[in-house]
Symmetry: C2
Subunit: 328 residues, 2 copies
Amino acid sequence: MCIRIGIMGYGNLGRGIECAIKQNSDLELKAVFTRRAPESVKILTEGVKVYKAEDAIKMKDEIDVLILCGGSATDLPKQTPEYAKYFNVVDSFDTHAKIPEHFAAVDAAAKISGKVAVISSGWDPGMFSLNRLYAEAVLSDGKDYTFWGKGVSQGHSDAIRRIDGVLDAKQYTIPIDTALEAVRSGKNPSLTTREKHLRECFVVAKEGADKERIENEIKTMPNYFADYDTIVHFISLEELKENHSGIPHGGFVIRSGKTGWEKENTHIIEYSLKLDSNPEFTSSVIVAYARAAYRLNKEGVFGCKTVFDIAPAYLSSMSPEEMRAKLL
Amino acid sequence: MCIRIGIMGYGNLGRGIECAIKQNSDLELKAVFTRRAPESVKILTEGVKVYKAEDAIKMKDEIDVLILCGGSATDLPKQTPEYAKYFNVVDSFDTHAKIPEHFAAVDAAAKISGKVAVISSGWDPGMFSLNRLYAEAVLSDGKDYTFWGKGVSQGHSDAIRRIDGVLDAKQYTIPIDTALEAVRSGKNPSLTTREKHLRECFVVAKEGADKERIENEIKTMPNYFADYDTIVHFISLEELKENHSGIPHGGFVIRSGKTGWEKENTHIIEYSLKLDSNPEFTSSVIVAYARAAYRLNKEGVFGCKTVFDIAPAYLSSMSPEEMRAKLL
């Protein structure tokens, strides 16, 4: 019997989840829930219905894991504790600074319901976090670095779009090669924000807009751009659509550390991702953790869990024997 | 109170474990056991004694985890099931093909004693296995590749030393760049043994030995060299000692996989290690799993475990709260 999955929210991430379910024969899409009018939402999977978000709870006995595809700013802080009262859930809450309070709220709900709630799965937080943890545990005397990109930052693209005179924009976060090389050399450099990443923007200006002012507003925008070297290109809407419609991303987690009686030896651990589609890769991670959530709950486990709390074997569809024979 | 560690066997690995314990303030070296005459074994840690191997069992109540540093060919198949009767143990059994039978023997012993026995920790098997598993679970439709090196293969170096006329030798396994690049491109190439790695040998010949014959014997040696492109350099003993006395190693685990409704997107996950000292890095991994073994057993867990069965949080000395705040 398949693990029955529900998807709450059908944007890029929800669609990615739907695709990932198709790739895993032990998972089955049971229902999609939306805050929009259900009849206006067209999904890819034949024979699966779209329901109103408020109908989800009625279907609690037909769904093994509900995957929450809302945003971290306002949706998930409410949705994850709420739905953890009724379902095993997985979210991709990614506001790093607020993870402790999100964990506490979700844990309280899941402890009462006896369900498993996995928060902050995806790639950062998620696979990158795992790599930071494993590397730190192994090389206790060391330093780790996370670089993001080359990839599209939705938040930075949105920030540019809000500038007066901007029709559309895409922003790429790009790790700086010399910084990556310095880290890989094992020198444990101290790197400023500006030394780690640069920001490249492709901007479509409205007819007659003052491009010089727009460029200046971008480059001096606090938090988003002021601390970085920023490159701004003005391009046509056609060019933006043709060359910048993808959502690629990726990055690097690198730790260098010392071992030996006198710390005479240096080791470099590097993990990197190069992703054609950020939401689809995130979805692939989430779906593996949905499998884990279901299995853990079957074993009587409950409460809020992160990627740190879940043994890797729970993620794979292979049996323990097969894993040991093929992957160990 | 510290976790009290015993070391069984004091070669390169045992010494690496000793160094790793020094770097982790929650661990304490309690005793070293050897098959040699204890008084002939000088260790680095002041105030810690060296005992005969057969005295280990008498000390079972003074040691929380016994780390087994023997070889996989003959030592560990006997030692791990034997000592798992009395101790939580960790080994680095690395004969991939025999892991299933080793697991079964160790599991039977540890289930009776109620202890935790972690087998096959280190980096391959170990960290590389974890990365194969995580990558396979996330990108179910893909292919993974493991490359080793650049690094010293002890087995291949030994094989050269057994050739008549050879005084000493060091062999480096080197991944071939074009193969790495083909894999990173996401093309999922089929690669032969010869296309993945080359072997570079530094050989010291005895006075008057026939170098041409030695080179030929190396290059045609079945299993070890015949299937590879092999480069042989004859050098002096001084040169070997000066330039080839280290034990560096490393490698790459790369998986590329597809996502999307029509598999239209490609993703590359890459994990790599660059290690100055193979035994010291292996030791650092083992020691983290010793911490995990102790904690799991405290929680009432027992039996044989691999890296797949252990949640990452057990490896770190950080508290769950600290981990979530700093690493997630």
